[in-house]
């Protein structure tokens, strides 16, 4: 197996006045080149932090990240620079992620300029090429972000991420701020780019329908931990973790008559600050029992299907 990225027991804690906030708490996975891992979860589950920690935009608290076989958690500055050129990020809010005082061309050209070693003309040519790749018309080259709609702004963000020809891109909710018709255009663009350039994506989102559409594998997170991970089809056809089941049943489906049977969860996500050992979902879980208060580890219940729930077999009658 040729895993381009391997994450082992990754941890990221934030210090807060109330205690340590466990944003990412022991996440492990492997990702093959050219594939997409969808990371889903509700706000505050640590999915964005996970992406940023892998990119080294945040320092990890513990664990290892191997990119192309090399441990990148202990890189010095020049090595980190090289590493960052291979890994890029596309942000959620296409307005906040663009400097309002830079034009489209300036934004896309900046990474090329920072890498150096290119003449100005070569950079301009490259920029024009990138704009064409992401479907931005020429006339927007000198436009400022506020003059463009969300979809076009997001295309700029994508072009900037592609400028250094990365192998791997973390997509942090790249379409959640867009309208459905525009969202579909951007999603299609991302899939085309993946095919053309053999890109590997980590696609972070709260939108389960989007994640199903774009991912090969999906990881469901809850309070910094992975609760379930399996292939995209399998997750939707055969969810094994009680949280995943509830999450899937909560998606409103655009069909009439509406025939869904909802699993309604009690309460809301509990605090990620100094969590108690044991299953973090137990407080809201309809199946919670005595044994849920000991730490849960992901178990490969079926080939390639990992679940962190000691009761998974019992619940699913396996």
């Amino acid at each position: 197996m040729s895993a381009i990225l391997e994450v082992q027991d990754l941890k990221k804690y934030f210090k807060t006045p109330k205690g340590a906030l466990h944003a990412v708490d022991g996440i492990s996975f492997q990702l093959e080149e050219g594939k997409t891992l969808g990371v889903v979860g509700e706000s505050g589950c640590g999915k964005s932090t996970l992406g940023r920690t892998i990119l080294h935009l945040l320092d990890s608290t513990g664990g290892k990240i191997f990119f192309e076989g090399q441990d990148v958690t202990k890189l010095d500055k020049p090595a980190l620079k090289k590493y960052r050129e291979k890994m890029q990020i596309i942000f959620q809010d296409p307005f906040a992620s663009l400097n309002p005082r830079m034009t489209t061309a300036e934004t896309i050209m900046e990474p090329l300029m920072l890498r150096g070693g290119m003449s100005r003309d070569a950079m301009l040519q490259e920029t024009a090429g990138l704009m064409e790749t992401v479907g931005l018309a020429n006339r927007f080259a000198n436009a400022y972000p506020h003059e463009m709609d969300g979809g076009r702004r997001q295309r700029i963000g994508i072009a900037r991420a592609l400028a250094l020809s990365p192998k791997f891109i973390v997509c942090d909710e790249p379409v959640s701020a867009l309208d459905v018709s525009i969202q579909a255009q951007v999603l299609n663009l991302m899939l085309d780019l993946q095919e053309e350039r053999n890109l590997t994506y980590i696609f972070v989102t709260h939108d389960l329908s989007v994640v199903k559409y774009i991912s090969d594998e999906i990881m469901v997170m809850y309070l910094g931990q992975m609760v379930e991970k399996t292939s995209s089809e399998d997750l939707f056809a055969n969810p094994l973790h009680p949280y995943t089941k509830a999450l899937l049943s909560a998606i409103p489906v655009p069909e009439v008559p509406c025939k869904k049977q909802r699993i309604l969860l009690k309460g809301e996500i509990t605090s990620p600050i100094d969590p108690k050992p044991g299953c973090r979902f137990a407080a809201r879980c309809p199946y919670a029992g005595e044994e849920c208060h000991r730490p849960q580890t992901p178990e490969e219940i079926q080939p390639g299907h990992f679940v962190s729930c000691c009761q998974a077999r019992k619940i699913n009658a396996m």
């Binding site: 935009l57 050129e85 890029q88 990020i89 400097n99 309002p100 990474p111 024009a128 704009m131 080259a141």
Partner: protein, 289 residues
């Protein structure tokens, strides 16, 4: 492809900014006055009908006349000539002190705001202590220890005003520090200096421009106060503020003596303010129209 590249190249920020600035009539009025002032400063020797220290005891306290367009003061000096020469000193003090304090203040503020944490704490506590001393008292103290004179006035003003710049800059840098485009810049390997200069400062600078132009005015006035207590520009140098304070004693009997330097200060302050407002708007691409 060729024509695509040429369409990108066309960008000229400067041209765009001037174009927008020229749409703002008030700002242009301010600019015209400032240009005029600079012209007067340069050619003072040719423009002034008399020397600035030329006394004529036969013609003291004279109102405006053909001979003395703006009248004479208590020592018989021609007020117009003094104003013309005074523009040099007043502008020098105001502009240089503001430039100096803004440079120091912006640097400290940007660093404190951008890095936060311990650096911020250290710098800000230092400024706290510093700012607990009133500006005027501080500048008097500095001017006293350095001795009177124009250069020392500039230093005194700059040192005493820069904490307020630092604070303002820090606050506005903090509002942009956590924006995603800063993170985006980091992800494409921009170093801290570039992130601060290219991404954080331009987006945090608007309130600063207004503040700078406002302080040019107040610096003129503080400089006048310093001359009044004998620590600023020394007689007979015709600093506007000094003229104003000198004429104060005669306000009842010879009001023309105080009016003309007052109007000069007011017009310069006003010009800088409207120009500053205009610049802020012209520099912001979001307000393009």
């Amino acid at each position: 492809m060729e024509n695509q590249i040429s369409s990108i190249k066309k960008t000229s920020q400067f041209k765009e900014v001037t174009r927008r600035l020229f749409k703002n009539k008030l700002a242009i009025a301010g600019l015209v006055f400032i240009v005029l002032l600079i012209f007067i400063m340069i050619f003072a020797d040719f423009l002034a009908p008399y020397g600035y220290a030329e006394q004529d005891f036969t013609a003291t306290y004279q109102g405006p006349s053909a001979e003395h367009l703006l009248g004479t003061d208590h020592l018989g000096r021609d007020i117009l000539s003094r104003l013309i020469y005074g523009s040099r000193i007043s502008m020098e003090i105001a502009v240089l002190s503001v430039a100096l304090s803004a440079t120091i203040g912006i640097t400290i503020g940007a660093i404190a705001g951008f890095y936060g944490g311990k650096i911020d704490n250290l710098l800000m506590r230092f400024l706290d202590i510093y700012q607990s001393i009133p500006v005027l008292i501080l500048s008097i103290a500095i001017a006293t220890s350095l001795g009177p004179g124009v250069t020392n006035t500039i230093l005194a003003l700059a040192i005493s005003v820069c904490p307020s710049y630092a604070r303002l800059m820090r606050a506005s840098v903090m509002t942009v520090r956590d924006k995603e485009y800063i993170e985006a810049a980091r992800s494409i390997n921009a170093n801290d200096a570039r992130i601060i200069l290219r991404h954080a400062l331009p987006n945090a600078f608007s309130p600063m421009i207004v503040n700078i132009t406002m302080t040019i005015g107040s610096s003129m006035l503080t400089a006048a106060t310093l001359s009044f207590v004998g620590l600023g520009a020394q007689p007979p140098s015709p600093e506007w503020g000094a003229m104003l304070t000198a004429a104060k004693s005669y306000i009842r009997d010879y009001p023309y003596m105080i009016t003309s330097p007052g109007v000069c200060i007011m017009l310069s302050v006003l010009s800088f303010n409207v120009l500053g407002d205009g610049l802020r708007d012209a520099l912001d691409p979001r307000l393009k129209n």
